[in-house]
Each structure stands twice: as structure tokens, then as C-alpha cells.
């Protein structure tokens, strides 16, 4: 019981002060028939034993080196500056609660305010919120915003949106009365057109035209974007999208078997009142000093209860902090460098892979940034062969898209150095 503080003497003296004989005297409201004798769990362990047990579980997993990981699909290996962990491991940040008392939470509040500004800048939209759980729930929350804003109850998913995001969107939509339709043409019932840029396969979509078509039908355009790509690609604000959402894992978070990561959402000024979750704004005290507070909380569940537009209470504050440190460390130049190096490495790799016998780009006419689909003979054998060489190879997308038989997606980032590309190609040639 390593984390308890009371000694038997403390307990006795506290009971004495209460006027009770035992802790059981305090539990009299619990019906006797409900009491259990003990939990069906092993007894507690020392830290040493606890860590040995956990470490032995960790040892049963296979970790592929960063530089030999060519798998993406929504989670990517990236260089993470030491500054990120140095900040997020400060107990003043990671052991604080949601900043309900602003005067004693200025550190968290200011950091989130900076996060909101960073995301708004990156997506070129007016306002971003304090973060969401992940990219998938961010898409679903954006669809809800569009549903409320337009009073329409259908969303159109255009192209290859991450299949797990679509699944989450469907599950959310079912409760909220929003229908999800796959297609490209919005109709009079369409609240929003949702597209991913680059899409799940890594391909660039015609975001400007999709946005235009959505607007022509009176629907909103929701762009699900890769934050790193925005250092080189036109951001949602530049092509007129109304809401930008995305997954922020690449901004300084480890893959961690899929979480915790961070979702982000930003929008045009007209939609700010529909944003889910926390929003931080500036305020001043009597002496005129600037501080930061939770703002527009009248939208939220703790005030509006069943009339709230979202039930979000917690966000992913610490992950948003990691993303802020990452973006601040990189700055506009560093972020552009990350995107460009990844772009070049991926294009170099694609060219070499396309020369392998029987291999070809699955969509040779389409552009990509740093993830791309190849059509290959015997995809499962390719993945297995690479694994034997210690390489985490591509994703077989047929798992989600039956029409894409034999198509695999490779990802390249700044951690896949030139020698790693050589190793990958050599392993495939062998």
C-alpha cells in the first residue's frame, strides 16, 4: 500500500475525534447485504515488484526503431525535441486539475491560450478551442457543430477519410440524429461536407472545389488536416473551409499504441459559439493585470446541462501542452523544415519503390506529401518480409477498403534517414 499516508495511530486519533470506534461505523449507510469481504485481486506489491511485472509486459511487445518505421495511417513517428518531455513532466502541469480557479491556474490557462493561437495560426482560421480527445472525435464534434448551425441532419464524407474516424462519426451521429453519407455531392439536407487533406491514403484532394461545392449547397466545409503538412500546404482558412479539425499526435507525442493524443478544432468567427469544449480568453483584474480565464462557458454542460451542444468536460490539456511546446520549439521555419524533409524523403522513396518489379504507384496522377499508396504484388508477404528484417512496413488498406486490393501505404518522415530508405529498398529487393 505504497501510496497511503495514515498510520494506525493517525487513524485511531481521527476516529476518536469523530467519535467513532472504527471506520466501519462510518459506513453504516451501506446495507449489510451489499458489503463484500474483500476484492478478488492479488495483494499489493512494492515498487520494485510492480515495475518488474510491468516491464515484463512491455518486453512482450516488439518495438520497431523510429528510422525503420514506415507505417502511418494516422499515427506517425517523428522527431520529438527533448523540450517537450521536459515541460510536460513538470508536476505543476501534469498534476494540476482543469483550471476552475483561474488565479491559481494561470500557467495552464496561458499555455492553452497559446495552443489556441498556434492552432488558429496553423489552420488560418479565427479561433481554436482548448483541444479535443483525438482526430476522430474532433471530426464528430465538427459534424455536430454543422448540424446545429445549419439545422440539417446529413453529413457527406468525401473520399478516403480515415476509416476509424468514419466509424466514430457514425456512432456519434446515431445518437444525435445525423446521417453519414459517403459521396462528393452535397444536397439540400447536407449540413457539411467532410474531407481529409491529405486523405487517409496520403493523397491530396481538391480542397478548394470541395469547399466551393459545400458552400453552393448551403453546407459547411469541414477539413480534417495533418498539422505538419500545413507548413507547406494551403491551410483551411486559405481555401475558405469553415471548420478545421485534426489529430495532433505528430506535434510531439509518442505513438503509445494509439493514445493519449490530441484532437484540435478551429473555425470561422461566425461559428465560435458552436465550438465544443473549453475555450480560454483574456481577462483583467482590478489592477488591470492581464490574466486568462475559461470563456464562453455558457455553451458548456456544467451550465447548460441537457441543452449543451457537447458533453465534453475534460479535454486533452497535457497533450495540447506538448503540442504547444513542439510548435513553439519548431517555429515556422522548423515546422517547414520538418514538412519539407518528410516530403522529399517520401518522394525519393516512392520513386525507388515504383521501380521494383511489379510495383507501381496506386494513383500515379495524384499528388501526396509524405504518405503514399503503392500497388504491390502479395501485400501480406511484403509486410511479413520487412518485419523479419526489423522494419515496420506499410499498411494494407484493403482491410478497410475492399476495392483497394494489393494497395499499401508507406509513410516517410524526418526520422527515416537516407540510410533507412536504402535498408528498406534492399530488404524488398532481397
Amino acid at each position: 500500500m505504497p501510496y497511503l499516508v495514515h498510520t494506525e495511530e493517525d487513524r485511531a486519533s481521527m476516529l476518536d475525534s469523530i467519535g467513532a470506534h472504527s471506520i466501519d461505523d462510518l459506513l453504516v449507510d451501506i446495507p449489510e447485504s451489499l458489503r463484500i469481504a474483500a476484492l478478488d485481486l492479488p495483494d499489493g506489491l512494492s515498487e520494485y515488484e510492480t515495475m518488474s511485472q510491468i516491464a515484463s509486459l512491455a518486453a512482450r511487445n516488439r518495438v520497431f526503431p523510429d528510422r525503420l518505421t514506415f507505417r502511418g495511417g494516422g499515427v506517425y513517428r517523428r522527431f520529438i525535441p527533448a523540450a517537450v518531455a521536459a515541460v510536460t513532466s513538470k508536476p505543476e502541469f501534469y498534476t494540476a486539475y482543469t483550471p476552475y480557479q483561474p488565479e491559481a491556474s494561470q500557467g495552464t490557462l496561458q499555455a492553452i491560450f497559446e495552443f489556441q493561437t498556434l492552432i488558429a495560426e496553423l489552420t488560418a482560421l479565427d479561433v481554436a478551442n482548448a483541444s479535443l480527445y483525438d482526430g476522430a472525435t474532433a471530426v464528430a464534434e465538427a459534424a455536430m457543430m454543422a448540424h446545429i448551425h445549419t439545422g440539417r441532419n446529413e453529413v457527406v464524407v468525401a473520399g478516403y477519410l480515415h476509416p476509424e474516424y468514419v466509424e466514430v462519426l457514425r456512432a456519434f451521429g446515431e445518437g444525435r440524429g445525423i446521417k453519414v453519407r459517403q459521396g462528393t455531392t452535397p444536397g439540400p439536407k447536407t449540413a457539411a461536407v467532410i474531407f481529409q487533406q491529405p486523405d487517409f491514403l496520403g493523397l491530396l484532394v481538391d480542397a478548394a472545389t470541395l469547399t466551393e461545392n459545400a458552400h453552393a449547397a448551403g453546407a459547411l466545409a469541414i477539413a480534417c488536416v495533418d498539422p505538419i503538412s500545413l507548413a507547406i500546404l494551403a491551410p483551411p482558412g486559405e481555401y475558405g473551409a469553415d471548420i478545421a479539425v485534426g489529430e495532433g499526435q505528430q506535434l510531439g507525442l509518442s505513438p503509445s499504441y494509439g493514445g493519449p493524443h490530441v484532437g484540435f478544432i478551429s473555425c470561422r468567427r461566425e461559428l465560435v459559439r458552436r465550438l465544443p469544449g473549453r475555450l480560454i480568453g483574456t481577462a483583467h483584474d482590478k489592477q488591470g493585470r492581464r490574466g486568462f480565464v475559461l470563456a464562453l462557458s455558457a455553451r458548456e454542460q456544467h451550465i447548460r446541462r441537457e441543452k449543451a451542444s457537447s458533453n465534453i468536460c475534460t479535454n486533452h490539456s497535457l497533450c495540447a501542452l506538448a503540442a504547444s511546446v513542439y510548435m513553439t520549439y519548431m517555429g515556422p521555419n522548423g515546422l517547414r523544415q520538418v514538412a519539407e524533409v518528410s516530403f522529399k524523403r517520401a518522394h525519393a522513396l516512392a520513386e525507388r519503390l515504383a521501380k521494383l518489379p511489379g510495383w507501381e504507384l496506386a494513383f500515379p496522377d495524384r499528388q501526396f506529401v509524405n504518405e503514399f499508396p503503392m500497388r504491390v504484388p502479395k501485400a501480406p508477404a511484403v509486410v511479413r518480409k520487412l518485419a523479419r528484417k526489423g522494419i515496420l512496413g506499410p499498411i494494407e488498406v484493403q482491410r478497410w477498403f475492399r476495392g483497394l486490393k494489393g494497395v499499401v501505404t508507406f509513410t516517410c518522415t524526418e526520422v527515416n534517414d537516407a540510410a533507412a530508405l536504402d535498408e528498406l529498398v534492399a530488404a524488398l529487393e532481397a
Binding site: S56, V87, Y97, D134, E238, S254, G281, N333
Partner: protein, 495 residues
């Protein structure tokens, strides 16, 4: 102490390269992509050197209260010590380095951990299965309601209402509404517990579920829980357990035995994963057998020691987030369960109840106690006895901040005027509880001698009370197009 925004410190030249060159032969993006595909204006991220960045965040950190430095008696939030070994466990490369789309054979340890955590949570709350997918408590509530909805529909039963007590956390009605239900409120009786007469009058074949926290948000155990369960089940509705207050009775009793059909848990409360300044958390949901077919996909299955992810669940409500949940938080929670064991978890809850009752006793003559004790792991007091001095619960909260304590939850639950909700948890020593009680006494005395000092609190923090009303006005002006200062982000100008 104040700290400029990173944007305000930015200097164009202070942004050195952060990476080596690409070192491959390949074109630049501008050679491959069309002008319409390329970004026109660079994003306005700050340009800063690493030393400046580290100083910036260290200073921000020092402007926070946190459980590592302060007593955080925030009722209903279970701010207990976050074991440092949990952080070490989650950062092990064997966990942190796993890609979610690795083959099952390469992640047997991760799946085993999830399976074991599921079994442990089942044991603590008394259910058949648990989904670890929901990312937070509210997310778990909503997931549970989706399952309850699917269950009723699978029986051809169209139920449209969810009952929620008036003392419930705001996420309960919000989650129910977002799951497609109409919310019907059930009143509390004068003793702070749910009114059985009112419940009886609200129950009907339209009701899909009653959402309940036990002990309730007043820190009181619903003594008639077995009668409540019988009444609810007799009408074909389900009973949902909000796990906010699970820290009150681990190893003492179990929601499953009380008759709850679905139970959500907050790993960031009861199971010590850190709150992170507002997430990430994790909100697993446990269910009885009749709801198992509706669990989100995938589930983790174990056959002859081999672990798999099961996606073939035709009656599942689908997926509620990407991948498998906040895995890193699951590792932390599992480390806690292993370290504490069944005996430790039980003693934790017993100590939490002891601490709450002890602290309640220490301040019972200083603040009003609207309900009779004993309480469970938290208690709700009221600052109404200070009203004639013009002192509010908020003033007490701010005065506590000045005395180096975080504030209790105030103005919640809504059914108690000037509510002050205190949850000390089992990881605070008697000395800390005594110091807190002394601070309350001092504040109550000051309410009589110098109430203005309380209205002016806090004085010892980076900022005093912030004018949220003026802030809201400025935001409205922006949203109405009357001002170009968004207030919700930095946009140059004023410092």
C-alpha cells in the same frame, strides 16, 4: 508575477534550423505542387531560442497550483497523489513506442495489460466486461447510454427518456441528450438523497435508464439503492452508475451488486492517472451480461494465453474513438492497481472515508452542514452562515488560494446554496487536514472581522480576481463584428 506570451517574445531571427537536410535527391514541394495547393502566408508561430522557450514554460509552471505542491480538496474530482512510478511505466519504450497498427503478435504485452486491467476493473465494480475505449468520464457516460439505447432497440423497445437526479453532474444530462434521449429530472428529498416518491412518479415504459452516482454528489450513500434498483428494473429500464465517486467504496461494496447495469469509471480520479491540467483522462465502462453484445469494437480477447482484438461484434455500437483508448493512461492505472492490490485499494477507500469525516468534524462548527453525517469520501458544506457578512462561497474559495490551498468545488451540487464541496482523499496526511481546517476557521473569523479582505482575495497570486463579465462582453463584441480583438487568441497589439 506575469509572463509574456510566447508570441510577444518572438523575434524574427530567433528560429534556427532544427533538423539536418533531407539528404536525398528529390524535388521541393514547390516544384511538385501547384500554387493553389501551396500555403501562401506562413503560419504566425513564434520565433524563439530553446533557452527562452524553456524559461517561458518553467515560469508558466510556477504559476499553477497542482496536487504535487498543494492540497487540492476539489469535491467530486478525487485529486489524489499521482504515483511517479506510473509515469515511468507509461514511458517504457515497450509501450510508448508501439504503433497502433502493429500486428497483434507484436503487441501481446500491451493487449495482456489491457486484458488484466479490464479484469481488475470488473472485480472492483462487479461487472461482466469493461470497454477501455472512452477517453474521459463524459465520453464513458455517453458510450454507456449508447449501449443502453442499443439494448432497448434490440428488444423492439422504443424508450425515449433518461432520468437524472437534480444533484447530478452536468455531463449526465448532456450525455443523455447527445445520445438522443429526453432528460427528466428526479428530485432529491430533504435528506439529500433521491426522493423515491418522485422517482416513482417519473418511471414509465418510456424510461430507458436512471443515471445515478452513489454515494451521490452530496457525499451521501443512497441507502435505498436496492429498492431503487428494483423499481427501475421493474419498469424494464436500466440503471447507470456514474463512477465519479467510486473512490468511496472500493473493496467495501460494488455497483454491480447494487443492481447497476452499466458503470463508468474515471481512471484519472480513482485510479491515480494525472489530470494533466484537464486531461487526458480515461473513462472505461463496465457492463453486465445483457449489455456485453453492444460493447464498442474492438474488444480484447484472451484464449489459451493468446490475445486478440475482436472486431466481429455485429451488435456493437461501433467505435467511440480511434484505436483502443488512451492506452498510456491504461498503463498508469494498471501500475496503480498492481502496486495497491485488493488490500490496498480497500484501505484507500476506507481512509478516504475516514479523512472526509475527520475533516468534516473539524469544520462542522465553522460552516453549515446541510445534511447529517456520516459522509462517505466527501462532504458538502454551505457558506450560507456567512451570508449576513456578505461573504460568499466564492470568497472562501479565493481566501483559501491565498493560504496556499487549492479551493474546494463551489456552487456544486446546485441543490445546496453556497455549496462548498470538499474531498480530501486518502493521500493527504492528518497534518494537512488540520492545517486546512485551521485555514477555514481563520477565514470564517475574518468574515466577521474584515469581510473586505475576503472580497479582495486572492492577493498572493500572479493575478487577482479576473473580470469574466468584461471578458465576455469583449468576446461578444468580437463575435458580433464590432471589434477585431478575438480575446480567445493572441492577435498582436496589447500586452
Amino acid at each position: 508575477m506575469t509572463e509574456l506570451l510566447s508570441f510577444e517574445k518572438s523575434r524574427q531571427t530567433a528560429n534556427p534550423p532544427r533538423l539536418p537536410e533531407a539528404d536525398v535527391k528529390a524535388p521541393d514541394p514547390s516544384q511538385v505542387l501547384g500554387p493553389d495547393q501551396l500555403r501562401k502566408k506562413a503560419p504566425g508561430l513564434p520565433h524563439l531560442s530553446e533557452p527562452e522557450i524553456m524559461r517561458h514554460y518553467s515560469r508558466l509552471a510556477s504559476m499553477n497550483y497542482s496536487i504535487s505542491e498543494q492540497f487540492y480538496p476539489l469535491g467530486s474530482c478525487t485529486m489524489k497523489y499521482n504515483p511517479v512510478v506510473n509515469e515511468v511505466a507509461a514511458a517504457l519504450p515497450g509501450f510508448a513506442g508501439l504503433h497502433p497498427y502493429q500486428g497483434e503478435d507484436t503487441v501481446q504485452g500491451a493487449l495482456e495489460l489491457m486484458w488484466r486491467l479490464e479484469r481488475a476493473l470488473c472485480a472492483v465494480v462487479g461487472v461482466e466486461r469493461v470497454t477501455l475505449q472512452p477517453a474521459a468520464g463524459a465520453h464513458g457516460e455517453w458510450t454507456a447510454l449508447r449501449m443502453i439505447s442499443a439494448y432497448h432497440r434490440s428488444r423492439g423497445d422504443n424508450r425515449t427518456e433518461v432520468l437524472v437526479p437534480d444533484s447530478a453532474h452536468g455531463t449526465n444530462p448532456a450525455s443523455a441528450a447527445l445520445s438522443g434521449f429526453q432528460v427528466v429530472e428526479v428530485k432529491s428529498g430533504p435528506d439529500g438523497r433521491i426522493s423515491l416518491a418522485d422517482l416513482e412518479s417519473r418511471l414509465s415504459p418510456r424510461v430507458a435508464a436512471l443515471m445515478l452516482t452513489n454515494p451521490n454528489t452530496l457525499g451521501l450513500f443512497e441507502r435505498q439503492i436496492l429498492d431503487i434498483a428494483e423499481m427501475v428494473h421493474a419498469t424494464g429500464a436500466m440503471l447507470y452508475y456514474d463512477g465519479a465517486n467510486l473512490n468511496a467504496f472500493m473493496g467495501i461494496c460494488r455497483p454491480g451488486d447494487m443492481g447497476f447495469d452499466a458503470v463508468h469509471m474515471n481512471l484519472h480520479k480513482t485510479f491515480t492517472t494525472p489530470h494533466g491540467g484537464g486531461g487526458p483522462g480515461a473513462g472505461p465502462v463496465g457492463v453486465k451480461a445483457e449489455l456485453v453484445p453492444f460493447l464498442p469494437t474492438p474488444t480484447v480477447e484472451r484464449t489459451n494465453g493468446h490475445l486478440t482484438l475482436d472486431y466481429k461484434r455485429p451488435r456493437s455500437i461501433g467505435r467511440v474513438r480511434s484505436f483502443y483508448g488512451n492506452f498510456g493512461m491504461l498503463v498508469r492505472a494498471y501500475a496503480y492497481v498492481v502496486a495497491m492490490g485488493g488490500d490496498g485499494l480497500t484501505q484507500a477507500s476506507r481512509d478516504a472515508v475516514l479523512s472526509a469525516n475527520y475533516l468534516r468534524k473539524q469544520v462542522e462548527n465553522d460552516l453549515e452542514m446541510p445534511h447529517e453525517g456520516p459522509c462517505m469520501h466527501e462532504f458538502v458544506a454551505s457558506a450560507q452562515n456567512l451570508a449576513h457578512e456578505g461573504v460568499k462561497a466564492l470568497d472562501v474559495a479565493k481566501a483559501l488560494l491565498d493560504r496556499d490551498f487549492y479551493a474546494p468545488t463551489v456552487y456544486f451540487p446546485l441543490v445546496v446554496p453556497e455549496a462548498i464541496m470538499v474531498e480530501p482523499t486518502e493521500t493527504e496526511s492528518k497534518a494537512t487536514l488540520d492545517a486546512f481546517a485551521a485555514a477555514i476557521k481563520e477565514i470564517v473569523a475574518e468574515a466577521k472581522s474584515n469581510p473586505q479582505a475576503l472580497h479582495d482575495a486572492p492577493q498572493n497570486l500572479p493575478v487577482g480576481r479576473l473580470d469574466e463579465v468584461a471578458a465576455a462582453r469583449r468576446i461578444n463584441a468580437y463575435l458580433q463584428g464590432l471589434s477585431e480583438d478575438p480575446v480567445l487568441r493572441w492577435k498582436g497589439g496589447e500586452k
